[in-house]
């Protein structure tokens, strides 16, 4: 599990760019408002929401509590079904496994269903470097692949672009007309381009929503049919998934499915729920001749090692937390860097990639708790953010990668002074009297205040403290 030295991700620059891009902000605002309204309609019955959510949380926690056993059981049952199971500790191993499968069979074109894990692997670029064309087939992913971008949202990857921008992109890359293209016409263009690719590709690569240990089944959900295409038409199907995703029993899928689709897009169910339990077998008429499952760790076993941070792994990737996040909706998905934006990204990315690379992630939150309230598996995201802040300052257990990398002596000293002042009545009185005297005299443009007052009005301190005023009025303060 070696990690190459990374550059620190400049979150602040991303935030700045996001905040000043008015088209981007309008695109996000519209999209997130729509998603929030649709989700709310699906959970109108608070009783049902509470019970379903408790069930979802329990299923995920139960699976995690038996994770190593379930992974072995999944492997055993998949193997019995004819699925080849591979394990990868890091990105290099996972990419090498996939490249090996493709090269051995002389495959030069693969079609891909949506998979966030494959984004973690930078799989497309890696395969491209080895002369293998990897084509994204989910419409949103197809668009951002053409644009050479990363997904800005884990469910709606191209939601930062409007139809004019997409029509221009298609015109530029595919030679279609940029004029008068609505969503329907643009979708038809992509359908036409990809249909031939599905028919002729050598392999399909997909993610997995729920791998089921009990039956050795890979459950994939989607609306477009691209996921079914890539797992059905090409002769080889390769599925990649994080080790944390496994669930124990087939019936566990039903409440999670209900929570996932409703939370993600406000749909009672997606168009397709595709349950794959092996390549074509016996007298089956079609389906791939080979199915592979690549189980990836990429730092998840480290997240697992601590019972508190382990809760991060309950995530079912519904994106509700980002849809409801006041920070995400304003800065957009790209500001976060990494694969997972929004609240889940803020807790997952620094744990997978290290606090040194993503030092600002835990602090880019007001801890407003909006994400916690909508998370369908009840991940205590805010609590986790506080934990990561402590870890960064070297005040945690050291469980998180690069713990202690972000401590500041100045900050430590400031808090120490604060604690001393607030624990001594005399020091407190002196300090607040000084604040009143000095605070109002300081100009808003004073060096340390300038940045803060550039977007806020400087507060005026009252002539005397509330404590004192009340005392003068004769209010007892015992």
């Amino acid at each position: 599990m070696s990690h190459a030295p990374h550059q620190t991700h400049d979150f602040r620059a991303g935030i700045d760019a996001g905040l000043h891009d008015t088209t981007l902000r309008a695109n996000f605002r519209r999209a997130m408002d729509g998603l929030m309204t649709k989700r709310a309609k699906q959970f109108e019955d608070p009783q049902e929401w509470t019970r379903l959510r408790a069930l979802g949380q329990e299923i995920r926690q139960r699976a995690l509590s038996k994770l190593p056993d379930l992974l072995e059981r999944l492997e055993e049952n998949c193997t019995r079904n004819g699925i080849h199971v591979h394990w990868a500790e890091d990105v290099a191993q996972a990419n090498a496994i996939i490249l090996g499968i493709l090269q051995q069979r002389g495959i030069t074109t693969v079609v891909k269903g949506k998979s966030m894990v494959s984004e973690e692997m930078h799989l497309n670029a890696f395969l491209g470097g080895h002369g293998i064309r990897a084509l994204e087939a989910d419409l949103g992913e197809y668009i951002i692949q053409l644009a050479g971008q990363m997904p800005c949202h884990i469910v709606m990857p191209a939601i930062h672009l409007n139809k004019t921008q997409i029509a221009d992109l298609f015109a530029d890359k595919l030679g279609t007309s940029p004029d008068g293209q609505d969503a329907e016409a643009l979708t038809a263009i992509a359908r036409e381009k990809l249909r031939e690719e599905f028919r002729t590709a050598g392999a399909g690569i997909s993610g997995v929503n729920f791998p089921v240990a009990e039956t050795g089944t890979l459950c994939l959900i989607e609306n477009e049919g691209n996921g079914r295409m890539v797992t059905t038409v090409p002769p080889v199907h390769i599925a990649v998934t994080g080790i944390e995703k496994v669930v124990e029993n087939l019936e566990d899928v039903t409440p999670l499915l209900r929570l996932l689709t409703r939370s993600a897009t406000g749909q009672p169910i997606t168009t397709y729920v595709n349950m794959i339990s092996g390549p074509r077998r016996g007298a089956d008429q079609d389906g791939p001749q080979e199915v592979h499952l690549v189980l990836i760790d990429f730092g998840r076993s480290r997240v697992y090692a601590d019972p508190e941070t382990r809760q991060t792994l309950q995530c079912i990737r519904c994106a509700a937390c980002m849809n409801h996040c006041p920070v995400y909706v304003r800065v957009g998905g790209h500001a976060y860097g990494g694969v997972y934006p929004g609240p889940i990204g803020k807790i997952l990315t620094p744990q997978l990639n290290g606090l040194a690379e993503y030092p600002d992630h835990p602090s880019a939150s007001s801890l407003c708790n909006a994400c916690v309230e909508v998370c369908p598996v009840k991940i205590p995201i805010a609590q986790m953010l506080v934990r990561l802040r402590n870890e960064k300052a070297g005040k945690g257990t050291g469980a998180v990668q690069d713990a202690g990398s972000g401590g500041s002596l100045l900050e430590d000293a400031a808090w120490k002074a604060w604690a001393t002042t607030y624990s001594s009545p005399l020091a407190y009185r002196v300090a607040s009297a000084a604040m009143t005297a000095v605070g109002n005299a300081l100009p808003a443009s004073a060096p340390l205040l300038k940045a803060w007052t550039s977007v806020r009005t400087k507060p005026r301190f009252a002539a005397q403290s509330l404590h004192r005023t009340l005392k003068e009025m004769g209010v007892a303060d015992e």
């Binding site: 190593p68 009990e214 074509r280 007298a283 601590d306």
Partner: protein
Amino acid sequence: MSDARANILRRLRAAPAGITQPSSDWSVLRDRNWSMEEQIERFRTMAESVNARVIDCVAPDDASRPLPSWDAVLAEDCAANGVRRLAVSAPLAAPLQALWTGSPNRPDIILTADRDTLFSVDAGLTTARGGIAETGSLILWPGPTEPRMLSLVPPRHIALLRTSRLHPTLWHAMTENGWAGQMPTNVVLATGPSKTSDIEQTLVFGVHGPKDLLILLIYDH
């Protein structure tokens, strides 16, 4: 790569025990006591809400209800939508051939699992193992008599569903029929035609899968 396997499992096993959840209350899924009529109405409403078309019919030899025979509805719909080449599920080929022999203007019945042929037909006709009332979903169970591609690749998908095979929820369908002990290589739940809202969240039907889904709901309960 067996090292990776051993290393991952070792790290996971070394972790301290965390939260355990011995058992759960499943009543939120179990307590769906809909009558047959409620299930049919719920199925129809949910399927139509995502643009599936649901037409009530009966088996050709059933005179007990004042509903058209499914093969007549099928022929009419194919004619209305210009379906000339209809790929069919194996068990339906012979009965359909017999029912349609001698009638003019019937589409060609194609029995094949050939990929390129399926990419070129106008519609695919499949059976459905069951239906899910809660969400308006079809349970497709492809296998030796029905290629997986039949419900996916042609631009139109037509499915036969018997009312007696409706279940309140996926959980009921799964647990009452013991799916866990007999999963075939592929089971698909299909709810409406394929769709996307990836561009400005505008809903568009017909992306990579079928753009039209017709459910012939055969009353047999």
